[in-house]
Amino acid sequence: MAEFERHAASASRPERLATVLSGSYGLIQSLAVLIALAVAITLINPAFLSWVNITNLMAQMAPMLIVAAGMTVVMIAGEFDISIGSAVALTAAICAVVTTQYGGLAGVALSMVVGPAIGIINGLIVTKGKIPSFIATLGTMMMARSLAFVVTKGKVISGLPDSFTGFGGARLAGIPVSFVLAVGVFIIGWVLLTRSPFGKKVYAVGANHQVARLSGISVDAVKIAAFVLVGLTASIAGNVLLARIGAIQADTARGLEFEVIAAVVIGGTSLTGGHGNILRTIVGVFVIVLIRNFMNLARIDLFWQDFATGLIIIIAVLLDVLQKRIGARLATGARRAATSVSPANQMK
């Protein structure tokens, strides 16, 4: 037994190192990119570091952050949701139309149901209809967008009461309330994913749905719940967006889904599910927002911006894949070293 203990101790060091490296390498790497970006932007325009600019960015990115939290859950469960841009628009459209007629309370209450309802539909199509989520949510994306046009009759809806738009400019200790709300969403998401039975099930379903099913987990229920959650974040984001802008048109948030998916992927969440850290998604969103800010400040032609963002997504995923390969090699190397030294240890 003593020999075994010693063997275990000798094995632990390289193995632990490998675990720590593969666990935090991604975080370090994305933080490094983030800091490099911030430094580059500051060099081009020192005004970047001003409190006004920073709080502006916070308010701007809040809706995207909120949706990214929900998207992380769906992607860890091994699915996608590209209908969320439309869900944000439909939520905001319904909220605006109802608020102007029946008041803010009715508008918010009704619109908060929109996202979860789309989520249930997405979840049922994916699980019961066995249709890949990319296709299923492509369908609902188009349908929800169309409904947004129907609800707004294609016009800009404005004239919201001050009580409603006041929220958009509100500050808490100088920080935009919408950003505080987004941070709250992430804290809840983090607790849900790492500290609740549901979170473990989400990871298990994404890692291997067969293992999850054989362990008595209802795979369909977990996936539907994940779609409802991302729908819920879409509805929150829709309201936040509406409050900030004070007006809405059906075309709002077009393409948001791809920016959000890109942010989640840059944050290191696996495209095939089972892996991911919701806190790193925040870094992913920051990277996307800062790149846009950087290109604006550096006066890079607007038409080139999507090109650059696309390129960065590919590089980020490539780096992630490389890092996983290195991590796996370190882990097997450590295991091999551990097993090969064990007889020698036992001789002593």
């Binding site: 500290r195 008595g216 295991r335």
Partner: protein, 505 residues
């Protein structure tokens, strides 16, 4: 000798850690069907791979029509008219029968390089007629039944100019009636003068179709029989070698005294195409073995009981005397039925999860505490630690990732995971497959221990030693039906192997 087509002389082949072939002689005549049998790991497939050019021998010579040959690739062997039909059906379902047969061997127009459709159609029709397969050349393979696909696969092989046809388990997934059709096709091919090597576990088929049979054991040829002058028993004895069965320890006889109802009763369980009318009882504290060749339905039976086998099954289950639907894994776990699957990597572990998370996966809801119903992580940790301790798992800690463990230790964790659900019925599908001797031993001890604690255990395995050492009774399955149930001292390797390979007499 005249008529000798292929002559393998003292073929040897080693892989790291194992000498797969130790100087094997094997010959094949024109127009002959030569059976190749042996237990798992005896060297059948290595010999077949060498003949087909997939592997190169370390030593020995191969003569084809009296001329020395050395194949560097399967394409090499194909050029010398040696064609292999693999166990898996490798046809393209979305193409027609004719397209599949002519794939990469198309009849093309001399100048244009386009496919000559009329000639292709005519030649395929002629081919299908000759081998009496009643399908149209234009039928998509996806629309064919399983045996028709196997026929097409063999006919495709026969459409080449060939001397030697290598058939690897051609009947493995077929039903009895379908087997007859395929065997008939094999006989008619032999009549044309082709030499056929027939690898099979099914001794009755060996007797039905072969002229000669070579038996391999641990990489050596132990016997060669003329089919008309041997018996199934003789071949089974040769396959097992000289091993003494009586030396092995046996479990104490099982008595169901004092227990009112069986832990599990299965009544008339059928799964279309897999299992037919399976009924048996499992006592609390009993270890019941289930064995059979691959394709006999043992694995399907495990999944059908656990509710993981799809929705087309019929039959009834009773757990401790009361009816249970066992329609899904969740259902089964709630009724105290757990399954350790045979595919550790694909259906067992979550490699990136810790031991703790793997162990607690089926019981996550039990750990929800407090007003927010969050996970009680210290309690989960404790459960993981207990599994590590009780199952003697070699790991740095219970928080180690599953992927950092060896296969044997992963298997111990998985067994611990299911035992932590405190099952009344534990289904174990090949629990010691692909793990080292030490872990095997520990897992077998654990199986005996949990049974003596009153858990009913069904052990689905093809390892005869395991059945003899551990089981109170053994069910032998053959093509989806129970052929015999052995009990106590009647469980010996010879009879188990005989029943598994030959079915009913």
């Amino acid at each position: 000798m005249s008529g000798v087509l292929l002559d393998c002389i003292q073929i040897a082949k080693g892989f790291p850690g194992v000498q797969a072939l130790k100087g094997v002689d094997f010959s094949l005549r024109r127009g002959e069907v030569h059976g190749l049998v042996g237990a798992n790991g005896a060297g059948k497939s290595t010999l077949a791979k060498i003949i087909a050019g997939y592997e190169r021998p370390d030593a020995g010579r191969m003569l084809l029509n009296g001329e020395a040959v050395a194949f560097r690739s399967p394409a090499d062997a194909l050029r010398r008219r040696i064609v292999t039909v693999h166990q898996d059906i490798n046809l393209i379902p979305t193409l027609s029968v004719a397209d599949n047969i002519r794939l990469n061997n198309e009849l093309v127009h001399r100048h244009w390089g386009l496919i000559r459709r009329k000639e292709t159609h005519a030649s395929i029709t002629e081919l299908l007629d000759r081998y009496e397969l009643d399908v149209s050349p234009n039928t998509l393979v996806a629309e064919l039944t399983y045996d028709e696909r196997k026929m097409v696969q063999i006919i495709k092989a026969a459409s080449h100019e060939l001397d030697v046809l290598l058939l690897d388990e051609p009947t493995a997934a077929l039903t009895q009636g379908e087997v007859e059709i395929v065997l008939k096709l094999i006989r008619s091919l032999a009549k044309e003068g082709i030499g056929i090597i027939f690898i099979s576990h099914y001794l009755n088929e060996i007797f039905a179709v072969c002229d000669r049979t070579t038996v391999l054991l641990d990489g050596a040829r132990v016997a060669e029989y003329q089919q008309h002058s041997t018996s199934a028993n003789e071949i089974v004895t040769a396959m097992l070698g000289q091993e003494l069965v009586s030396d092995m320890q046996r479990p104490a006889p099982f008595t169901a005294e004092g227990v009112e109802a069986p832990a599990l009763s299965v009544r008339k369980l059928s799964v279309p195409g897999r299992l037919v009318d399976i009924s048996f009882d499992l006592g609390a504290g009993e270890i019941l073995g289930v064995t059979g060749l691959s394709g006999s339905g043992a694995s399907d039976l495990a999944r059908a009981i656990f509710g993981a086998g799809g929705t087309r099954q019929t039959g009834e289950f009773f757990v401790s005397g009361t009816k249970a639907s066992l329609r899904s894994p969740l259902d089964s776990l709630q009724r105290g039925v757990a399954l350790l699957t045979n595919d550790r990597l694909r259906e067992g572990i979550l490699p990136d999860f810790s031991i703790v998370d793997n162990v607690c996966l089926p019981r996550l809801n039990e750990y929800a505490t407090g007003p927010l119903q969050l996970l009680d992580r210290p309690a989960m940790r404790e459960s993981g630690d207990m599994v590590v301790r009780q199952m003697k798992v070699r790991a740095v800690s219970a928080m180690s990732a599953m992927k950092s463990l060896s296969g044997g230790n992963q298997q111990k964790v998985l067994l611990g995971k299911w035992l932590a659900t405190t099952p009344q019925v534990m289904l174990l599908d090949e629990p010691t497959i692909g793990i080292d001797i030490g872990a095997k031993h520990e897992i077998r001890n654990t199986i005996a221990r949990i049974a003596s604690g009153g858990v009913g255990v069904i052990l689905f395995t093809s390892e005869l030693d395991e059945l003899v050492q551990l089981c109170h009774r053994v069910i032998v399955l053959f093509r989806g039906t129970i052929v015999e149930i052995f009990a106590g001292a009647a469980i010996d390797k010879q009879s188990l192997l005989h029943r598994s390979t030959a079915g009913k007499d």
